[in-house]
Amino acid sequence: MPELTKKERMKIPRQVMPEQNPEERRSNFKEVNLGFTEELAVMEANRCLQCPKPVCVEGCPVGVQIRDFIKLVSEGDFLGAAAKIKEDNVLPAVCGRVCPQEEQCEVKCVTGVKGEPVAIGRLERFVADYERTHTGIRTATVGAPTGKKVAIVGSGPAGLSCAGDLVQRGHSVTVFEALHEIGGVLIYGIPEFRLPKEIVKAEVEALKNLGVEFKTNNVIGFSDTVDELMGEGYDAIFIGVGAGLPYFMNIPGENYNGVYSANEFLTRVNLMKAYRFPEFDTPVFDCKGKNVAVFGGGNTAMDAVRTSKRLGAKNAFIVYRRSEVEMPARVEEVHHAKEEGIEFIMLTNPLEFIGDEQGWLRGAKLQKMELGEPDASGRRRPVPIQGSEYIMDLDMAVIAIGNGSNPMIQKTTPDITHNKRGNIVVDENTMKTSKKGVFAGGDIVTGGATVILAMGAGRKAAGAIDEYLKDPSVW
């Protein structure tokens, strides 16, 4: 193909990614987005202006070489593009799906000034899928063994990316995971219809092939403490245990049957496969024909409400105390949820849950809100409207107002400094904690954030761990 001019590139419309139609997908757990075809990918890649100064990269927390990988896509060298991305991002199939691209790389893209930005995330996803389905995930070579042992606590994106980088540098790496499967929120939280588990499993297999050892069923703090791991000969430890403590609202009636935390609801469905009961043993509330409300406005809330719809809910609502513009969920998820028939009740807050004699949830008392002055987060603070209370009939409720940090490590390792909110305090450049030889990153440091930030933290820590292992006197 002859080289396109800038003008010609700008004329190409942003390519639409095929997806399952809403009617069909709201009753199955298969992935909603179907991904670009090769033709669509090349076409979309041709929209990139190959800027001399690619500003898009500034928006990516791990600095993926966006311009260069997109060039390779436009040339049809998809495997080359995959290798290019993986210089900076070890989980592209995951990030291409779940990164909030519209706020990160794509928001910076120059083509977005006048028209629509290049679909960087979709291209990243395409490239990673192409590699996985055509050659299998190809991994980097492993450096000469250094004889050093590193323990990684928690197998979410932070732990996995840290493990990948360290094993490539020749260190022996063991990942300890509390649950029976590897992947953290990618496995137990984010549903199959957004991130097929098969993709996470393939990434984990690739790490196994590099020599990373995985030990499931190991709750650090209970099975072994951090100090005991040190005693077992690990030269350094990375803690990536995530933010896994569900917040409740502390309103009356929260313990009625049918009131779930998002973590419990999603874990039952995703990790334990309750949607396939009785083939799988774990049950979950029977949503069929029922009224379900999910309280919250983030990705977790969208995942929970769309899951309830797929389990057969007649009416599935998002109830959020601010307005739609303040919702932290990704735009794409909100859009998909609406297409699937989710109803959004904005500026509304629950005051209490109502139940029956047998302890089953029957409804919620809600109160309308209006937006007042901006609060500390810069978003306008919701203020209750007196006298606006009303009752909503409900059979199931899911509370998705965020997670705090699990205190297990804090309680069992007092010499790792935590802040008031229970997050581990680290040196921002090295991810070092207050305890010699122990590093931390991901949600346990930042509070609930994003997959890519957790991965970035894992990589940064890997670099610092490598230096520390070469010369422990640098602590």
Binding site: S223, P246, G359, P407
Partner: protein, 287 residues
């Protein structure tokens, strides 16, 4: 995979398993539990560590077959494997020399209270054990308790063995006859634990119960195991499982434990139907 070293029935539907789990065996303390998963399709269910042997690297669990998962476990034999065993979870029992300590175990609760009874004895308490069961053949661990405790009483609901009545009947007798009791640990079905709590409340005897909500992860991540204690929400898996009986809201917990009742029936039917098919297939093969 966690290998079953031995498996034997203690009573109809109550089976004792010794499982190879060296790390758990080394670490566990009285009052802690494991979460097991029977197969790749299994649910995660909590079971108390009844005993352990750190030199052999084994732990003992005692399982009462009441639903799909526990019946499936009880169909396992030595040489079989659990897909997952994780622990030790939960806080260990709070043990000190209280003076006279009574451990009360209703049904399979006798197994759950056993390790704590041992620890209470080791701490220097005068230990009394009350074992309650519906009927004679369901009485478990009597011999083991006699080896450890200073006094052991057995009650059966139908009077077929030991004293006729409930564990609370015996406990009340002890209190009325002037036994000075400093500490009580009661473990069994929720109505039993509640009855003990109500009995001891007016006397102000320190009473502890081990709660048994439905659990999933057992690490404080899901909040499914929440209960109300002292008007506050607790996560039983990480804040317990033992709590001051006089502060527990038993009513709410009893209702919460009914959440999956219809599913449990379906699961059990599905399981029995499945085992029948396996049985039929095995018979066919033999013929």
């Amino acid at each position: 995979m966690y290998k079953i070293i031995s498996a034997d029935f203690l009573a109809p539907d109550i089976k004792r398993f010794i499982i190879s789990a060296p790390k758990i065996a080394r670490k566990r303390k009285a009052g802690q539990f494991v979460i097991v998963r029977t197969t790749e399709h299994g649910e995660r269910i909590p079971l108390t560590i009844a005993d352990s042997n750190s030199t052999e690297g084994t732990i003992t669990i005692i399982v009462q077959g009441i639903g799909k998962s526990t019946k499936e476990i009880n169909s396992f034999n030595s040489g079989d494997y659990f897909t997952d065993v994780v622990g030790p979870l939960g806080h260990p029992s709070h043990i000190e020399n209280f003076g006279t300590a009574v451990s009360i175990g209703g049904g399979v609760g006798a197994a759950i209270s056993f390790p704590t009874a041992v620890a209470l004895k080791e701490a220097g308490n005068h230990t009394i054990s009350i074992i309650g069961a519906k009927t004679k053949e369901l009485v478990i661990l009597e011999k083991e308790m006699r080896d450890v405790c200073d006094e052991v009483y057995v009650t059966t609901d139908d009077g077929s063995y030991g004293e006729h009545g409930f564990v609370t009947t015996k406990l009340k007798n002890l209190i009325d006859s002037g036994t000075k009791i400093d500490f009580i640990l009661a473990i069994g079905p929720l109505p039993m634990m509640r009855a003990v709590a109500e009995l001891t409340r007016p006397y102000g005897i320190k009473t502890v119960v081990s709660l048994n909500p439905v659990m999933v992860d057992g690490t404080g991540m899901c909040g499914g195991c929440r209960a109300t204690v002292d008007n506050k929400t607790v996560f039983v898996c990480v804040d317990g499982p033992e709590f001051d009986a006089h502060l527990v809201d038993f009513d709410t917990l009893m209702k919460r434990n009914n959440t999956y009742r219809d599913f449990e029936k379906t699961a059990l039917e599905h399981f029995s139907c499945h085992t029948h098919q396996m049985f039929d297939a095995a018979v066919k093969e033999q013929n």
